[in-house]
Amino acid sequence: MTSSFSISTRAHVRTATRFVIAATLGILPVAVVKAGPPDAPKASPLIPTMKAELDRSLKALSTQDPPAYFIGYTLTDTQRATVSGSNGALLSSDEGRNRWLEVTVRTGSYELDNTHKVDGRQPPNGGPGTNAPVDDDGDVLRRVLWLETDKQYRAAAEALIKVKTGNEVKVQTEEGRAPDFSRDKPQTSIGPWVSFTLDRKPWEEKTRAYTKYFRESQAVINSIVTFTAQAQNAIQVTSEGTQLQFGQIRYRLELFIQGKAGDGMDIERYYNFDWVNPSDAPDDKAVYAAAAQLRKEMEGLVVAPLNDPSVGPALLTGRAAAVFFHEVFGHRAEGHRQKDVNEGQTFAKMVGEPILPDFISVIDDTTMRKLGKDDLLGYYQFDDEGVKAQKVMLVDHGVLKNFEMSRSPLADFPVSNGHGRRQLGATPVSRQGNLIVESSKTMTNAQLRAKLIELVKQQGKPYGLLIDDIAGGFTFTGRGQPQAFQVQPLVVYKVFADGRPDELVRGVDIVGTPLAALTKIVATGDTPEVFNGYCGAESGSVPVSAAAPALLTSELEVQKKQSSTDRPPILPPPAHDTAKAGGLQ
């Protein structure tokens, strides 16, 4: 079972990209014996059209001042179905399809181009792109390409002028001297076009039933369950000769409930299922099991006492540890941050140095479809800059080796390793994919727990913490800007040295440098747990996964969270109101 670290709110409000898997048109992994060669996937008739317009454009724009030296077109076709329910009723059920066109034009040269950051600031780009028709009409697409290319060229030309001026007056950092665009091999690959056919009725019934189940608990004020199916096909054509066509289908089911503690604190619980093969859809048994767990946690949390500030040992279960690693370590390993004067540049100077205990290794492997039984959301064939996905060793037995790289090179890392990613409309930057934490010093869960208590006693503390779920990235409500590095423990227990039963507490905030906690890892569990989620950062929301075993750290500092001053609801929920419905009082 997977847990998530990021919440998407009511499905009808958010428009984050979702995934759905449909294996209907996919090539099955089991070999089918038949005579003759297998049918090659058909290339979209739009590819020659895109190439024609691209060639025409580059021919003219490369002779302008400043010249364009690179043009790339990406056309993304998204088919999406969403079914959402709340409090026992259906909120919405719809299906749609659209195409989005993104055009990248680079002016200058690989060494210095319009994307060069001056004084830490990103130069303005020509906009997020535009809608394209879903019909395969070459003439109309070319018209759209023509205008968008012109617009992007102008923005790139203006930006380059600003860059050149800025370079003359600002001091160049060492990383500023690295090239702006790496030289990577063009890729050609035509994969099958994917789509799904879905009967939404069963999911409409399910979303009603699952949310009705939540309503039966008095502690649950509001509940939303959302099912999403998405088929996304991308075509990439570039002036370097890249021609790609590939598709992915994914399914997702999200459970979300809200409650309020007696002092007004908002409590939320969330759980998600992600799968690729329709036969891996969670059955009612699995969903109700997760739902029961969420309800139980909510009922406990609304009456749980507030946390007290403390410093001491902490045990993070696998899914909490995975989120923790993603936020606290993973973001810092994204290559583009090493270039930025505004970012901490924490790791830039530490390649080859130990930064984690020597029994910990961390890889980012976007070629991995599954880990055990779990599908991984960070799997893809090519990144958003057309670079092939690959396995990257980030930390080898504690020693920092590599970063997640896009085509924006670092002085010592001149090529991309397939991590240039973005949400549709944003400019790709280096982002995580499938972050996998491996350990060679493992214990069983029972042993870990015993070790926790041992550490607690050693340090002379009354209790240590067991953290079972953490939110990262952005809050459930989508309030405020997505913030990398933010970790918020959600389900926390005090584990007492004297053998008392564990006590659920609420309102826990981690303080200090969470990175320090990673260096104080004492031991890990023996079973990795996966979380799948949507990570929000500079290039928007992208699907990622993280996997880690349970972690025991000797020192974690926490404080008490600010509570809201809202009161809980004045009247009891209608379904649980013992008094007469009203009017006769």
């Binding site: 709110t9 009808h12 009723a89 018209r143 004020i221 509001n222 379904a575 009203g582 009017g583």
Partner: protein
Amino acid sequence: MRALRTTAILLAAGFAFAPMAFGQAARDNDQTLRAMRDEMARSKTRLELQISKSDKPVRPFYVEYRLLDLDVREVVGEFGALVSTNHNRNRSMSVNARVGDYKLDSSNFISDEGFRGFIGSTGTVGIDHDYDSLRQDLWIATDQAFKEAVETYSRKQAYLSSLARASDIDDFSRANPVQHIEPLVAPDWSNRNWEQEARDTSAALRAFPQIYEARVTYYLVYTTEYLLTSEGTEVRVNHSFAAIEAGMNSLADDGMPINHYYSTYAARPGELPSEDAVRKSLNVAGTELMAMRAAPPAPDYTGPVLFESRAAAALIAQVLSPSLGGARPPLAFQPVMEQMMSSLGARSEWSGKVEARVLPLSVTLVDDPAAKDYKGTQLVGGYTIDEEGVPAEKVTVVQDGKLKELLMSRRPGPDFEKSNGHGRSGFLADSKPTMSNLFFTSSEAVSKDELKKKFLDACTAEKLEFCLVVREMDNPSLSLMHQDDFSELLASFGGNASTDRLPLVVYKLYPKDGREELVRGARITGFSPRTLRNITGIGNDDYVYNYMQSQVIGVSGTALGAFGTAQSGLPATVVAPSLFFEEVEFRGARGEPKRLPLLPEPPMSAKVSEGN
């Protein structure tokens, strides 16, 4: 006999209610109303908060539940290709609670508080007409609305105590409770293939290779709205409308952007013009756009101007709509907000002018929500009961030039207190007095030919080589296809958004030989409601101008409110004839020149390519 006939008609129309309930539509099986009633009963009597300042607990004196069932289809075509097609059904909820009393309550006050919590008093709720889930949603929303009202009331009182002068206008007028339950209807999308029509009609613009972008959007809507209040009002009403809206653009050779649009509105999808008719109209717009492209820029000009009826009706909609409403604008905690609103023309210029002459003595202005058509053309602005549950009334706003009555919601104003059923809004927003079907008539109207002669005579008398004729006004919400361009336009108004007007199709007319010459990019300045006091000539060639009143926050209720789209607006209609003004000031040509594309446009065949 009568009961049977009623049943037959209702069943034939596909209404969903128990067969035995004929003659008792108000008592059908709609769980929605039952859930609203039951939760309201509970909230009315048991919702209260003990606050430190008073010894008695605070209770709401008014609670209102609103639901909007929206069933909408949107289909977009571009040059013959389908861009998107969407069909969405959802139900939105808005719960309002008021604390205080009718004289002074928690409404009408814009505090500086942002969005609080996300278990809120508005949002989407289940579409199943399910009793239990709706009661749950209403429960949370009412709780939140009540708490917000308590807090807002306290802030408002604090703000008012800091003002030197107290207001003597009540916050909320009284109105009789109303019961108005219409039978539920199923949407009728007709059996037209909208996707194919979007393709076929947008393909008409392929004939103009110098049009850069052109989109045609079909927007079809069915709604059912519910209103239930603590005063005992119960309303369930159905609305529908259908729209075809198109925008197109290009650049003239000097880099000036040129835009055009087409729009048509109907009460139901099946009543939209045929594919052929739409193609013809798009052809006209495309041809005009190309003519504008070749035309010279408009000159600066002050002199006689003839607004042909189509342009005159649109002009009246823009110029008069903010002034027709008599509700007091909300108090703003920040005066800067008030300034911004008034620079957009949100203040009524007719406030305080009852019995004064605001239009020529021959003119009468009547708003009639019950009107359905005019000389065979369908009107779209009609409705039966407004958003606050007040039955819509016919209002004579101006009689023989004198201001008689303003359009009112339940928010009293300096001139009038009671509502006349004009509290309208879209998408469950706060109601604002808004016109429905507005008729501009004159007892001294002359024929179109006579009007033109008068106009030419005036032109000659002023010894002008040419005068200007406006055939059509612009609607930048439709003709500008990018938000950037719209923002740029707003910025270009400076502080004159309330008096700058945007004509679109303008001709120089030479009185010597009657020659007409198109010009582009004109802008009218200094045209306010006051300008309408002195109209030199009025025709009898009425034009039915169906359009959308924008409901976008910050724009609705201002001069820009007339630039709505189907997605963001409320249907309204102005019926008006050609108007001739002795003196109007034009400043041409508007817009900053853009750089022409570096490459020529790629070829586009006149017919859609094979395999689509």
